[in-house]
């Protein structure tokens, strides 16, 4: 317990002036995270403005209190629901990043089929499949019937459009928030492709 306290204190030290940002990939392709890295050299400025909490590029496993949570991908299985709720509970501002988070995106194309059909296509009717059967083990999580955009599960504060949103979109958003400005995108940053 004592150790836990000091962890939290340590975590908050030196962070006062920086925005604390967490990111998570749910059912997406990781392209949105890649696009954030496409800010290139601006990452050297970014680390002056923000401190990363739980993200795939840090070792932080449990999300702490954050200013901003960026969510890539829609909600496709029980784990996604759990992670998303945890982010909502801990982030002042929650952002749906990219088409998959905003609408379900390409993975939501499976919604027109039964989940069973999708599984059978991959594991039973596929070409060159040995030992055909649908994986079924307590160790793999339950899939949801449909893929959902994240705002169907939690309240969302901002939506960044694009597949993926461009690096400039991320940059505009994060610098606006860091400066305390109202977030606004020029028309040129609002598009899918």
């Amino acid at each position: 317990m004592v150790a836990q306290m000091s962890n939290i204190q340590q975590r908050n030290q030196g962070r006062k002036d920086k925005l604390i940002v967490a990111t998570a990939p749910l059912c997406g392709c990781f392209g949105c995270h890649m696009s954030l890295l496409d800010i290139d050299e601006r990452i050297f400025e970014l680390v002056e403005l923000v401190e990363f909490d739980r993200t795939p590029v840090t070792d932080i496993k449990t999300i702490g209190k954050c200013d901003i949570g960026l969510i890539e991908g829609g909600v496709a299985n029980a784990h996604n629901v759990h992670d998303l709720r945890e982010f909502r509970a801990n982030c002042d501002t929650l952002v749906a990043v990219g088409s998959c988070a905003v609408t379900g995106g390409i993975p939501a194309m499976r919604n027109q089929f039964d989940l069973k059909e999708c599984l059978e296509e991959a594991y039973i009717h596929g070409i060159g499949v040995e030992n055909p059967h649908v994986p079924n083990d307590v160790e793999i999580p339950l899939l949801l019937d449909k893929v959902h955009p994240i705002h169907e599960v939690v309240r969302v504060d901002y939506f960044l459009p694009g597949c993926p949103p461009s690096a400039d979109t991320f940059w505009q958003f994060l610098t606006d928030v860091a400066a305390g400005n109202e977030v606004s995108f020029p028309y040129s940053l609002i598009h899918y492709d």
Partner: protein, 496 residues
Amino acid sequence: MTSPLETAERPQDMKRIVIEPLTRVEGHGKVTLLQGKNRNIRQARLHITEFRGFEKFIQGRPYWELPVLVQRLCGICPVSHHLAAAKATDMIVGAGELTPTATKIRRLMHLGQTVQSHALHFFHLCSPDLLFGFDDDVQHRNITGVIEDFPDIARQGVLLRKFGQEVIRVTAGKRIHGTGAIPGGVNKSLSLDEIRYLQDDIARNIGWAQGALELLKNIISEHYEHHMQFGTIQSNMMSMVRDDGAFELYHGGLRAKAVNGDTIFDHVDYVNYNDYIRESVKDWSYMKFPFITSLGEEEGWYRVGPLARINNCDYMRMPLAETERQEFMALGNGLPVQSTMAYHWARLIELLYCTEAIAELLCDPDLVRKELRIQGNLQGSGTGVVEAPRGTLFHHYEIDERGIVEKASLIVSTTNNNQAMNESIRRVANQYLDGNRLNEALLNHVEVAIRAYDPCLSCATHAMGKMPMELNLVDASGELVDRLEKRVTGRIMRTI
């Protein structure tokens, strides 16, 4: 060759340890271990817990959507999917041989892809481990830490990745999920200005790639024995090679070599890959387990990616990379190099190769010509294969007479390494965990072994990065008896 640790008898009598989440596999992959008497490890499994169903939901879509649609499997190597699908649709439109301009634009795009992906893996993900040590403070052991302590190395990594992404943007219109390749060709060639823009940086980038390789070799040689045996397994190797046996990433035949260096098959036309490879389904993972059909499931699993490609090719066309390849192959004394950590080494030789190959290709006058596309008669099916950054990537599609997709089959690069990653974990479990109480070394070592493969489970799942972890030890009645957590500070804590 499959380890006996794959499946334990009477698992209900054993202690179950779960390592979850592995962020690199999107937080949805995990490792489970079963401990029997005397804490002996009896079972170790890497489970991939993500499923998206692309094979089904692209049915009913027109074939020309495939190159832009299927790349949404993976934002880390979208160009590889873009090009594998494009090659399959080349066959579907009956294009035969593409124009030199189209082929070279695609090759350039693919080289850019490999540069950005390998740079990302080395600098953004692995360099913190290698520079600071596996047991460095977790809060510090990430790209931000590298920026603070080694700003020059961080800058080189960021700029090398940027260069790869810029090659992609110039050839495909957009860095992630571009549109450059179309059935039968490409939709644009390059302008002289674009070529000059890319040439501007090229010598510097080649130098940085060399520097990264030197850095890695120094780190490995400091603890040579340790790195060479760590998580090492004996496996077959599969990759694409050019007709003359040269290293190849975009187009060639399939070659597989056995542990003793013998050829299993060679120069196989990839259109027939289905005769050589099958995929097995196991209950406990959404990722299938491919194997070489003639050797069967037990003996036929193999590795793909940088390690397999460098081991399999006869030579590399680029001079700096070829010198490095020869030095690397000497490690194996005439046999394929099997060290799992050698993946890092092989990957950086490829990074160097790609920067050299881009420099060469940018001088090619075909890049600015305007013959972009070939069209023929619609065919019923098409297969496209490329060497993606992480290994051989297979796309196969069948269409009806209106051009609507009826069937699709995809084997993504990392899936090829499924059994191998499982075997490496079992090896690490044997080497470091067997008979021991849970400790932080276990966490670290399992993490490092998986990371060497650079698994881009985006394609079957998606994620990357460091692996924050939690270990729970549950006894046979389901009661939690031990629990370790790797905290934000990097401390491993027993929280029970």
